[in-house]
Symmetry: C2
Subunit: 330 residues, 2 copies
């Protein structure tokens, strides 16, 4: 598999150097692998820190900035960052108002962030944590006990980030983050496998003419394989799984997310089917984001996330955000 890289061993630091070159509004420490909002710590503001394995860009470094994350800790590809990154990030963003760790539910991430939370508390930083587990496709998975954290992470980071920017205290920011996670559901579909730089060949084998329903963001198995389906049919399966699990009784925010290699032309067509499928189930969509936000390297496919949003969450969604990958209102 051909890749636009130098050597597999340096893809993460190479990307960090590229992020630093493109985004002077971020402080990128390539050596320690921590990406920090330049103006951190922001006086009186709760600091938001997330992180996880690389290969899901723009998640998380692309979400660092005003109104979203204060820092991100990228691990090796599909590998949890280490506690030292997280404690450095916490120290860099803590203004005295405390820090929220936003953790996708993968065993390694949870263990490392929990250890980092203890270390940071020892250093006098007040830490709260939220574990994101929005993926309805499977209960346990290759790297997870319980549900996986996927597209819902974007909503947790945006909405809790907006609350923090407004000056909410740590307990409230953490409460909102947990509430958002509880109101998010995701379902993913793979049309092709992804290839990690280290392996150099597809991480699993998906035959021509088949897709995998309920895929994770590391190529870990989903619910089932089926003969290739239309966009209409895929939207019905995904939306049915989401609505059955969430049972929303109000409007939702929707993320129609590309896994990395699916053209935007196809994603927008799929978005039309997702809107149709939600409409047929009586679910109003008040905001929609279409694009590659929570990716899986070069995997072809998509995921759908819905987040039930009352007026307060909708206001937080519309609040200004200024990050490399998500920006509006400022």
């Amino acid at each position: 598999m051909k890749m636009l890289i130098n050597v597999p061993e340096t893809v993460v630091p190479d990307a960090l150097r590229g992020i630093a070159a493109a985004h002077p509004e971020l402080n990128v420490d390539v050596a320690t692998r921590v990406v920090v909002r330049r103006e951190a710590p922001v006086e009186g503001k709760v600091g938001l820190v997330s992180g996880g394995g690389s290969g899901h860009e723009p998640l998380h470094a692309g979400f660092v900035g005003r109104g979203m994350l204060d820092a991100a800790c990228p691990g090796e590809v599909f590998t949890s960052p280490v506690p030292d990154q997280m404690t450095r990030a916490a120290a860099a963003v803590d203004s005295g108002a405390g820090v929220l760790f936003i953790i996708k539910n993968y065993t390694g991430d949870v263990l490392n962030f929990e250890m980092a939370a203890e270390l940071a508390e020892d250093e006098g930083v007040q830490v709260a944590t939220v574990v994101v587990n929005d993926d309805v496709a499977v209960t346990d998975s290759l790297y997870t006990a319980g549900r996986r954290g996927t597209g819902g992470t974007l909503f947790v980071e945006k909405l809790a980030g907006a609350a923090a920017e407004e000056g909410a205290p740590l307990d409230r920011v953490a409460m909102i983050a947990r509430q958002v996670n509880e109101r998010c559901r995701s379902f993913g579909v793979a049309l092709s496998a992804c290839t990690t730089p280290a392996k150099g060949s597809p991480t699993f084998d998906l035959p021509p003419g088949e897709l995998e329903l309920g895929i994770g963001i590391h190529g870990e198995p989903g619910r089932e394989r089926r003969a290739m389906m239309t966009s209409h049919e895929i939207a019905d399966v995904a939306v049915e799984a989401l609505v059955e699990d969430l049972r929303p009784d109000g409007p939702v925010l929707a993320l129609v997310n590309g896994m990395g290699a699916t053209p935007l032309l196809e994603l927008y067509g799929f978005n039309a089917e997702v809107h149709r499928a939600l409409g047929e189930r009586g679910v109003p969509v008040v905001r929609t984001l279409v694009g590659n936000y929570v990716t899986s390297l070069d995997m072809a496919g998509c995921s759908v996330t819905i987040c039930e949003a009352d007026e307060d969450l909708l206001r937080l969604w519309d609040a200004p955000v200024r990050t490399p990958a998500l920006r509006w209102g400022c």
Copy 2:
């Protein structure tokens, strides 16, 4: 080749329905295939219209909005839109201040936009045109007499769009668009071929272990094929071609663009090499955009565009823009 579609025949209208669902700030006429900024015509403002074959998303519909295009006309995949779309768009956005057609240099696009300009003039709309031909890789190509229009289109649309938003008259907006085109150069590289929905198989054959230097955005041939190269080497070839042709004597804006299927992790790593290669040649970079902006369906690969920018163009670049794919400052 698996695709996230219903049937190949409806990919363009399906995507337009999805764009309409995601972006209520746009008026999308699916039947006539015209995407218009909702507040058009804007009183006293020159209207900017672009368009071209689909498959390059977010170009052009993703660049419709405040500070950039007033309307976009998407053709079938890799096929020019028809004059009727362009005259409808011109009529929809003309406030009396005239309309600028921004045309990528492909034979079909140029002929159709020229015909549309005549028809629109007959209907009383004052029309100016600019043909974008920024690709240094080849002189003539499969669909072009002269150089192809590729990544430079983004700079022409953004900078002329900002000038129009400031209230510049038609002749000045057209002059800026032509000036920007003259100051832009692009060079693209393919690691894989793209697959059109209609064909269903790769549009050309690129053997494992080889890349194509100087590729177009429709898979049309470039300069040469070589054994696979590192990101460092590719950046040197691309940047050398750009700098030798443009010979900038001031700072540049840079677009490090993905062709569609290359992960953002790789693009950012490539951006670090592009910055290095420009720095080694004494070219300062004042702004950088990294992402999938001018794509070629599911092609893996990248392109680099530089745009020599004096203080006036830099100010226009930093001016507020609010479109689906590019937004800042508002």
